[in-house]
């Protein structure tokens, strides 16, 4: 099994290199890269799935030519599960990318994009199987940098470069915490082999807490917890859409994986870790969805929803920890299972949505929601799949998003009912948080889907939009089908997740019951049946009756124009007005004045509070402080000599004072 996984990794790297070698011709590079990626992903996904279902645990060691660590990779349920996610979503994105990049062929060298894409997938796979700190960190860095180069693929664009820089800063500052984390963990044994780290039944409590916080920040930066998510809404829109799908679909989940993997080293978790994770999750979820509502850039909106969904995942994991720390297997299992299943689900529908956004960008040439509209009749497949994705991401039945959120809800209710009061409150906090997140998400996606695809086109570009190519449509359809499948057959999905969840809560014995999942299937089927029934009824009723078409009723307004439609901004306004205090909004208005007002305008810029109130000022301050040092290098030879003299005298006095007789 493990060998096959490594084989597919090797295949990815090989195709990446091949793509570069034939880089002269874009077509060849495109086909080689895409085919290689799709094949190896298909192989990897099937193998990982098989390994997961068979609960395979195998490992492989090799010596390392350098003085640190040794090459150690292994499979366990957790790795296998994340491998399934990685390969599944990557495969879809790669296939989509084949079509998406085809549009760029000739305009720009494609070989780098394909190279970095395959390297990114490979590095993610290695991250999940690595069992040695050094190897893990190397794969991690490879992941960061390949994705960085993908973000700056269209590097001639200013915003892409700035996004890349922000991303680089975030990932590098974040990785500091990880280096420190692993160095601290390996402090005692001097080796970074995960077995030894894990075997030592967790470090002392104090160190464990430090490590947990380090992991929270370090991995949270990649995962996109609020407020260290700041790179995310810039990077995802800048990247090519299939890359955004990959990054948002699985790459940020590597942060979750790392966090979970680290938890395995830290011994039995104190209960406050769970509480903290729940808090982080709730805050990230709400902040993410609120900022998403404020966006008018389709891909930016989706990026903020990644923050939201990471929040939901974290809620689940927090619940799991809460249960685990109290020895409450059921809550632990439900929490972990819900979180993990949401990892998979989010990978599926967020990938699907980003691909849809990519098709919109590719078909209508803009990502600005306000200048789209009425795309449904121009790109029906994209629109329908996007609708499926939207319903799924809002967690509505009968699609997959509902299943994972349902598990988390059940876990929260169980926890509230069975945990000791002090911690039960934390469990119950998850419930209204999820509810509010869900409601806002629904609002946000009604806005996104409705304004982009429904109504009348607001601009020429939107009116001239065309449907995506076949190669782009296929993966979207497949993704939509998978969303529906998981939604209608939760039992199967949970069977995939269960081993990993049990592994996390290191539960021995039978996997606890996740509740009557078949009942969800029943509800879903009944729902679809009712829809079909009513649809049929409608047809029957309308048969033989007069069905005519007319203009939308504009309250008898004579000359309606598409510009009069409700915009995304106005749609979101009531909610944003409610939450104005927590969103950084800058209003720039010039009201009409005088007897003959020349012009009046009203602009509202909704920024990111974490960025514009916290991180940006901090960075500026650091840079200013550093630039103060420049005073010392001001060109005078004499001054430089003074430095030498002063250093000499100071050091002499320091070292010699007291040594005299």
């Amino acid at each position: 099994m493990l060998g096959l996984i490594l084989l597919s990794v090797a295949l990815l790297c090989a195709s990446a290199l091949a793509a570069v070698l034939v880089g002269r011709s874009d077509r060849a590079a495109l086909s080689i890269g895409t085919v290689g990626a799709s094949l190896s992903c298909a192989l990897g996904a099937t193998v990982a799935l098989a390994a997961l279902l068979r609960g395979e645990q195998s490992s492989l060691k090799a010596t390392w030519p350098l003085p640190v660590g040794e090459l150690h990779v292994a499979l366990d349920p957790l790795s296998s599960f994340f491998l399934v996610c990685v390969f599944l979503v990557s495969g879809l994105s790669a296939f989509y990318g084949g079509g998406y990049l085809g549009a760029h062929a000739g305009k720009r060298r494609l070989a780098p994009a394909l190279f970095y894409f395959n390297v990114l997938v490979a590095s993610m796979a290695v991250v999940t199987v690595a069992r040695d700190g050094i190897l893990f960190l190397i794969a991690w860095e490879a992941m960061s940098f390949s994705s960085f180069f993908l973000v700056t693929f269209e590097s001639e664009r200013e915003d892409a470069r700035r996004a890349g820089m922000t991303y680089l800063m975030a990932s590098q500052l974040g990785v500091i915490f990880l280096f420190v984390l692993f160095a601290l963990l390996g402090r005692g044994s001097g080796t970074y082999d995960f077995d030894t780290l894990g075997a030592a039944s967790g470090p002392a409590a104090g160190l464990a807490n430090v490590c947990f916080l380090l992991a929270l920040v370090g991995f949270g930066t990649k995962a996109g917890f609020w407020p260290v998510h700041i790179w995310l809404p810039d990077a995802h829109p800048a990247a090519p859409s299939h890359v955004s799908a990959l990054m948002s679909g699985v790459m940020i989940k590597m942060g979750i994986y790392g966090l979970l993997r680290t938890l395995a080293f830290l011994g039995p978790p104190p209960v406050w870790w769970g509480a903290l994770l729940i808090a982080v999750g709730a805050v990230s979820g709400l902040a993410g969805v609120l900022h998403a509502l404020a966006q008018h850039d389709l891909k930016r909106l989706l990026a903020y929803h990644s923050v939201e969904n990471i929040g939901i995942i974290t809620l689940g994991i927090g619940l799991g920890l809460l249960g685990q720390s109290q020895g409450n297997t059921t809550v632990a299992f439900l929490g972990f299972a819900g979180g993990l299943l949401h990892v998979l689900n989010h990978g599926l529908f967020k990938g699907l949505l980003f691909q849809g956004a990519g098709s919109v960008l590719h078909g209508a040439g803009t990502r600005d929601i306000e200048s789209l509209g009425g795309l449904y009749r121009r790109m029906p497949i994209t629109a329908s799949t996007f609708l499926v994705g939207s319903v799924a991401i809002c967690g509505l039945p009968p699609l997959n998003g509902f299943v994972s959120e349902w598990l988390i809800y059940i876990g929260a209710f169980r926890g509230a009912a069975t945990l000791p009061t002090g911690w039960a409150i934390w469990a119950i906090v998850a419930v209204p948080a999820l509810a509010l997140i869900g409601g806002l998400a629904a609002a946000c996606f009604v806005k996104a889907f409705g304004v982009v695809f429904l109504g009348e086109p607001r601009t020429e570009a939107a009116a001239k939009a065309h449907e995506a190519r076949k190669a782009m449509r296929a993966p979207m359809l497949l993704g939509a089908l998978l969303c529906l499948a998981i939604g209608l057959w939760p039992a199967g999905a949970v069977r995939i997740v269960a081993p990993a969840a049990a592994f996390l809560g290191n539960m021995s014995g039978p996997i606890p019951d996740a509740g009557p999942l078949t009942a969800i299937t029943r509800v879903g089927i009944v729902l679809l049946a009712l829809v079909g029934l009513l649809g049929a009824a409608r047809l029957v009723l309308l048969r033989g009756r007069k069905v005519s078409r007319a203009a939308t009723w504009g309250c008898s307004y004579a000359a309606p124009s598409p510009r009069m439609q409700y915009t995304a901004a106005s749609f979101a306004q009531p909610i944003l007005a409610l939450f104005a205090p927590v969103i950084h909004s800058r209003v720039d208005r010039q009201g009409p004045d005088g007897f003959f007002p020349a012009e009046a305008r009203y602009e509202e810029h909704l920024g990111d509070m974490a960025g514009e109130r916290l991180l940006l000022p901090a960075t500026r301050r650091v840079v200013r402080a550093l630039s103060r040092v420049h005073a010392i290098q001001q060109g005078r030879l004499q001054l430089y000599l003074v430095y030498i003299a002063v250093t000499l005298v100071v050091l002499l006095v320091w070292q010699l004072s007291g040594t005299g007789r």
């Binding site: 609708l387 209710f413 429904l454 009348e456 309308l542 306004q573």
Partner: protein, 306 residues
């Protein structure tokens, strides 16, 4: 089998009646004679037999809206126990399905509204989105009040655990739950003080304006759907307020219908004696409901009920 038939019959037959009751009550308060009690049935029947006019800018989403939302509320009605503690689709965790089914219906109603491209309907959708998002926490918190002490995630368990012998100030938490559920009911069914179902100025509407363009059978579905929604949430409320025997039977049916009618009359009274709130104040109403429910929950934990 019999249970199922009874359940379906109640679910399908009773709802329009409630609308009639409300209108009657309001008419009585206003000193008018008012429309006949069964008028809503006639309206629906009439609409179902009409043709339809569709806007040129609409797609199948517009047509799907009423269907999906009606299907969703009917499904929710099948999940919720009506005249007995058992429901056809009930299972451990059905509370959540219930809430999310309502959400599904709302999603498609709003999408359909945006499909027409009319600014009025967009406006309505946006308000609906805001209010319903705020109503969600209240709904879930009050359900938590029901579920946590029962140590169960099913309506069946929750209702079974309701302490009938001593009610009221012994268990203020249930009172809180009932009140915030009632607020949710008003919001979900676009009733005064949240929304005025028969206002005449589109600018002030919330729900009605979303369905301006629907006509014929579609509008029939919409009308019927809102009635069913009212009935379903009302049933949830009735289960909290009245001791409906777990085994079902005539007495249960009578209690349910009586309770529903009582709720409808109460709504009528509220609509008659209250003015609708200004739109900016509606959120406060809903947040207030959520706060009430969370206070109840806090009290629950304070008393260490679980």
């Amino acid at each position: 089998m019999l249970d199922l038939i009874v359940h379906a019959a109640l679910l399908l037959a009773v709802p329009p009646l409630l609308l009639g009751v409300i209108n009657k009550t309001k008419a009585w308060f206003a000193g008018r004679l008012g429309p006949p009690l069964l008028q809503p049935y006639r309206d629906v029947w009439k609409l179902l037999r009409k043709g339809a006019v569709y806007s040129r800018s609409t797609t199948w989403v517009f047509r799907a809206g009423p269907i999906v939302s009606l299907a969703a509320v009917l499904c929710a009605g099948l999940v919720l126990p009506l005249a007995a503690n058992r429901s056809p689709l009930g299972f451990s965790g059905d509370v959540i399905v219930f809430a999310y089914l309502l959400g599904l219906g709302r999603f498609f109603t709003m999408a359909a509204a945006l499909d027409t491209g009319s600014s009025f309907e967009g406006m309505g959708a946006s308000r609906e989105a805001a209010f319903s998002a705020l109503a969600e926490p209240a709904l879930f918190l009050s359900m938590a009040i029901l579920c946590v002490p029962a140590r169960s995630v099913t309506f069946e368990g929750a209702f079974g655990a309701l302490p009938w012998t001593t009610w009221g100030f012994e268990h203020p938490t249930y009172l809180a739950a009932a009140l915030s559920l009632f607020a949710v009911l008003l919001a979900e069914n676009s009733r005064i003080p949240v929304d005025d179902p028969n206002t005449h100025l589109e600018l002030t509407m919330v729900h009605e304006v979303m369905v301006l363009d629907h006509g014929g059978p579609d509008f029939g579905f919409v009308l019927y759907g809102s009635a069913v929604k009212l009935f379903v949430i009302g049933a949830l409320l009735v289960h909290i307020l009245l001791p409906i025997p777990a085994g079902g039977g005539w007495r249960a049916i009578a209690l349910l219908c009586g309770g529903e009618i009582g709720v409808a009359m109460f709504i009528g009274v509220v609509e008659s004696i209250m003015a609708r709130l200004r739109l900016p104040r509606v959120p406060q109403f809903l947040v207030g409901a959520a706060v009430l429910a969370s206070i109840g929950l806090a009290a629950l934990f304070y008393r260490g009920a679980p």
